[in-house]
Amino acid sequence: MTDWISIPLVAFPLIASMVLLAFVSNGTERMRERLVAPIRMACLVFSLVMLTITTGMFFQYFGDVSWMNIAFNDYEYRTTYTWIESLGINWSVGLDALSFPMVWLTTFLLPVTIIATWNEKSGATYFPLLLMMGGALIGVFVSLDLFMFYVFWELTLIPMFFLILKWGGKDRKYASQKFFIYTFTASVVMLLGLITLYFLQDPYSLPSAGTMTGRSFSIPELIDSARASNVGDNWYLGAQMQKILFVMLMIGFLVKLPAVPFHTWLPDAHVQAPTGGSMLLAGVMLKMGAYGMFRLPISLFPHALYHFQLALMIIGMVSLVWGAIVCLGQTNLKKMVAYSSVSHMGVILIGIATMQPMGWAAALFMMFAHGIISPMLFAVCGAFKHHYHSMEIGAMRGMAKHSPWLATSMMFAWMASLGLPLLAGFVAEIMMLIALWHMISLDGWSIWWMVGPALVLALTAAYYLWSMQRTIFEGGEKGQPPANMVGHPIPDISNSEKFAMLIMAFFTILFGIMPWIGLDMMDDWTKQIFDGLIIFVGKGGA
């Protein structure tokens, strides 16, 4: 099969953007200004090509692919090249129902982000950085090799670091470093876990074992061996080791997600990040955490998963509730939106902790839906900041009057995020609720677990409505524009921003009305992974 992933989706964006960056950053100021338009166009065109490829993949245009019937731990478009033979490291890529939606989402968000931030300053370096970000993110999702996974995992930090550092707000230095160090710290712990996992193999037992170490970094092979040994009275690596490795991997993923109490890097990063950075950060980068959870700990360590079910549930609940409560106390629009992401990521954790295929499908769909909605939230915040030079809620009121497009976009995004039915976010929320209650009644948990989600459903509405009351409504002729806006004309969002908003809104509605487009394959995947777990549950693992 032709390798549709390695070059066009990963390597080319990375290399091309690096070359562009190297070329541009060594040029003169004038050259950089002149190059903005062609570079932007090139980035857009290439990101559209990427989108075309992934969309074509979805429609099974490139080869005989069936997203619905992939066996668990089997991958489409799988390609493997030897990378570092002695360590068993391969360049191995592939897609399944877990990773494909994320890859598509990334390729979808890239052009949207480029369009939404069409007039970002220093475009000659900005757009290549976005492209690089995209390549790295896709790299994370397509990796079927632990080493490769980790490499891309960390690689995403670098463009984001620069995006925040160069285009960020006032405290960008603090925020970018905090973001980098915080997530890096967590991921090195994860790395140690990965390495420990790596060495807990029978030497030379796996096909792609390294010539020097005798172990393999291959994710599919590891999962296979885990599945094979999680039978009978055995647990893969033994119960204790599963728990240890589970915790170590989860540290990396939970911080990335982020879950309370490891979330404080996120508001800082988001508030300071430029719009494009925020869009990709919230849209895809946070999902890396959830993706990693599914790809590794959940697939590998069912015993530990059951063992830590309660812990996950608590963390998820705390994230959910705490994020929402803190949201209500924010006066900064972007910070509020950032905390709402924390809250929504709690939904993912709860979905996982339900130990129900439906809960997991809810988590997967939440990853996807939030990946479309939250960029829109941040695009709105960015436009708000761009036009009114302030991020304070209430700095500009009566947007409905003078900026109807922005007001409409804002209301749409806010409503989507608070889980309005027929928009994408609701699907995940209702599925999570159903799965949670099902688990509560099935496993005899206390019904008080329902209080958290119930409270948050109301709180989410409260903070979103509260902020809309002070931005979209009121004001008008009587509304006071911010001090620095007095006497200036108040423009509505630009055409490119409108276009980006419309696209995002369209897909939010599309996946709200027809969630099965994405959900079917997720459902298939969760069922398959769960099939293996049932055997496990049967032997009293829970």
Partner: protein
């Protein structure tokens, strides 16, 4: 019994078009929005298309036509359910203690008697309100350039209501329910620049959202019990039997949770606070939300639960819930009516009236549920009849109230519209004369203190707006339950059933007494409203200059007046019967004349002595005592030279006579603490606001601080702490070579001793 029993799929050609009822308005939403945005100032768009009003009209008319055809087929076939998954929404699976169970959520159309009733009410009223809106919205300068937004949101709202009614599962009911919530939010906040409107919109959404949360939980619980939310599954007797055997308690909780959702949506105590504030929206919106659609959603939801209450397998299991439904209704009926006593705002009186009347329907439903749940009505013919009548009375009241209240709102809108116009004309005229400049329409609209909605600024309008006054009169009479008019037929039934139940279960005396007293209170405040507005002398200069209203507004008023007056026809057709049960089909057993005769006989000459007396007590309280007091307090004769239509003369004369003869001073009552409490809406809003501000906002502010200073503080502490540790560590590098040598020596010694120890 509705829903259950027969799962026959009716063969109606219209069935395939049924989704269009929902889809047409839904698709019109973006069309109107974008066209309006593009052709905002285009004269054709403005004058001919009425800024989208015509598009809306067309789609609503189409919806109504399809609905009517569907209803016709339904009546003809009269056989239950169309249950089909036309549209697959999502698939998933759950782990069920051993196996993976696939589950599916899809959208389908479900038609039964309750659906048909609501479908007619919704599509009919939506169309009328649409017509009214064209007359109302497009002539108000304040709406300039944003009417397309109104129509877009309007059609989406209608789509939500129709979808909710047609949906074949509780999940899709909820989905459309929420879409209505969004639209009510948008429509209430239509005048976004008014802080009060923004506040009211938020309040409406949040309050109903609280109910919705419970509804969602209820749905989830129910799903867990049945493994589905489709009506065809959950109403299946076999499934209910299975659930009842295991966890009827959980089912009661689930239904209770869902009922809280209904309480929020239908503005019942204690989630009623949003409804009066929602009057901030344009009047057609008030009509839409309060009469035709949204508030009925809660009733519809409760009515949908009937199969559970009526199930043989759950007999006597859901009594408590039935009581709670009736109780909430009873409390709200009295409370809202009392608050309505002291309102000066025309629309707010109607709002509280709505609340109160919905409470009646809840009480009626609660009682019907109780009867269905306790009586052995599947086998006992008499019991069956009682249950059907009780349920039918409540639904029929829904119908009557929707028609009457829709008309009242539109009529009040017409009044307000004209008063406002008159005021504007006067004011603008002065303005023009004085300053010779005619700009700032908006400013003078908002800046001055004149309140076009206040009844204190009206009076004596009966002569100036004859049709409106008539419509208002008929509507009020229908709500009051004056004999032979509209709501009388259904209200009597509700009161009677409440007492019937109270005799069975003494707890029900509370709602029973409430609804009886409420009848009198309704009589008082509705009369008061009409009298203050239309009778007496004009209270302001403005009121003296009010002119007649336009045709777009007149049409719906006329139609609805007719509907309200002819409620007996509907009653005679068996509306009170056929809604819940196919057995008492429309004209299937009786002719229309028979039906009417039966109804009249049943109402005025009940064979049971208790109910016979009760009927007349209710009539005495509701139609004589309440209005009588109002007559003696308010109104009086019209100003000199004012003429009214012939049919209104007796009313005016009666009023003048009573006013002169029995007028008394009610200042001490009006100034009492209770009155003040009522004016402050019994302080509910106050305490809710306090709770929001002090508790929730305060707590969240504290939490935000904690997040910043404690959670993130730990991180910052680690950072600053490591910097200070670094300082200490670096200070060990003193700069003196001797110290370095010392450290080397110490290190060497340490190694020495360590290895010595090992050795």
């Amino acid at each position: 019994m509705a829903g259950t029993g027969s799962n026959t799929i009716i063969d109606s050609d219209m069935m395939q078009f049924a989704p269009l009822i929902v889809l047409l308005p839904m698709l019109a939403f973006p069309v109107i929005l974008f066209l309006g945005h593009i052709f905002n100032r285009n004269p054709f768009w403005k004058a001919t298309m009425k800024e989208g009003g015509i598009i809306a009209l067309v789609v609503m008319a189409a919806s109504l036509v399809i609905s009517l055809l569907l209803i016709k087929d339904h009546i003809g076939g009269f056989a239950g359910i169309k249950d089909s998954v036309d549209f697959l929404w999502l698939n998933s699976s759950v782990y069920d203690g051993g196996t993976l169970e696939p589950i599916t959520f899809g959208f389908g159309i479900y038609i039964d008697h309750v659906t048909v009733m609501l479908l007619f009410v919704a599509s009919f009223l939506c169309l009328l309100i649409n017509i009214f809106s064209i007359g109302y919205m497009n002539t108000d300068p304040v709406n300039e350039d944003r009417n397309h937004r109104f129509y877009a949101e309007f059609v989406l709202f209608c789509s939500g209501m129709l979808g909710m009614v047609l949906a074949d599962s509780f999940l899709w009911l909820f989905i459309f329910w929420e879409i209505m919530g969004l639209c009510s939010y948008l429509l209430i906040g239509f005048y976004y620049e008014k802080p009060s409107a923004a506040y009211a919109a938020k309040k409406a959404f949040l309050t109903t959202r609280i109910g919705d949360v419970f509804l969602m939980i209820g749905l989830v619980m129910m799903w867990d019990l049945f493994g589905s939310l489709d009506y065809s599954v959950v109403f299946d007797e076999a499934n209910i039997a299975a659930v009842a055997a295991e966890s009827s308690g959980t089912l009661q909780w689930a239904l209770g949770m869902m009922f809280i959702g209904a309480v929020g949506k239908s503005a019942q105590f204690p989630l009623h606070v949003w409804l009066p504030d929602a009057m901030e929206g344009p009047t057609p919106v008030s009509a839409l939300i309060h009469a035709a659609t949204m508030v009925n959603a809660g009733l519809y939801l409760v009515a949908r639960m009937f199969p559970f209450f009526g199930s043989e397998f759950l007999q006597d299991d859901l009594v408590d819930l039935a009581f709670i439904i009736a109780l909430i209704g009873g409390i709200t009926a009295v409370m809202a009516a009392a608050i309505a006593f002291v309102q000066h705002d025309l629309k707010k009186v109607l709002a509280y009236s709505t609340m109160s009347q919905l409470a009646y329907i809840f009480t009626g439903l609660g009682c019907a549920m109780f009867l269905a749940n306790t009586l052995d009505w599947h086998n006992d013919e008499d019991a069956h009849y009682i249950v059907i009548i009780a349920f039918g009375a409540a639904l029929f009241h829904l119908f009557n109230h929707a028609m009457a209240k829709g008309m009242l709102f539109m009529a009040s809108g017409s009044v307000i519209h004209e008063v406002h116009h008159a005021h504007h004309h006067l004011h603008h005229h002065d303005h023009h004369d004085d300053h010779h400049e005619g700009d700032d329409h908006h400013d003078d609209h908002h800046d001055d203190d004149f309140d076009a909605q206040s009844m204190e600024n009206m009076g004596g309008l009966a002569s100036k707006m004859p049709l409106t006054a008539t419509a208002m009169l008929v509507g009020s009479a229908s709500i009051m339950g004056l004999p032979f008019i509209g709501g009388f037929w259904s209200k009597e039934g509700i009161i009677a059933n409440a007492w019937r139940v109270a005799l069975e279960d003494p707890r029900f005396f509370i709602p029973a007494i409430c609804v009886l007293i409420g009848a009198g209170m309704t009589g008082f405040y509705m009369s008061r409203m009409w009298l203050k507005t239309f009778a007496g002398k004009p209270k302001t200069e403005v009121a003296a200059h009010v002119g007649p209203t336009n045709t777009w507004i007149k049409i719906p008023l006329f139609v609805l007046t007719f509907v309200s007056l002819s409620a007996i026809l509907f009653a005679g057709m068996g509306f009170t019967h056929w809604a819940p049960d196919s057995k008492y089909g429309l004209m299937s057993e009786k002719s229309l004349i028979d039906g009417i005769a039966y109804e009249i006989n049943h109402a005025f000459a009940n064979s049971d002595t208790f109910f016979f007396i009760l009927t007349y007590i209710a009539i005495a309280i509701g139609a004589v005592l309440g209005p009588g007091i109002a007559l003696s307090l308010y109104g009086g004769n019209l100003a000199e030279g004012e003429k009214v239509k012939a049919w209104m003369k007796p009313i005016i004369r009666l009023n003048a006579w009573v006013f002169d003869r029995f007028h008394f001073d009610n200042k001490s009552v009006a100034n009492s603490g209770l009155s003040r409490a009522l004016e402050n809406r019994l302080y509910f809003d106050h305490y809710y606001d306090m709770a929001m501000l002090k508790l929730v906002a305060g707590f969240s502010d504290k939490s935000a601080d904690a997040d910043k200073n404690v959670v993130d503080g730990v991180i910052k502490k680690i950072e600053s702490g490591s910097q200070s540790i670094s300082k200490v560590v670096r200070s060990l590098t003193t700069g003196s070579a001797r110290d370095y040598i010392l450290m080397v020596s110490v290190g060497a010694l340490a190694i020495f001793f360590l290895l010595w120890g090992v050795a």
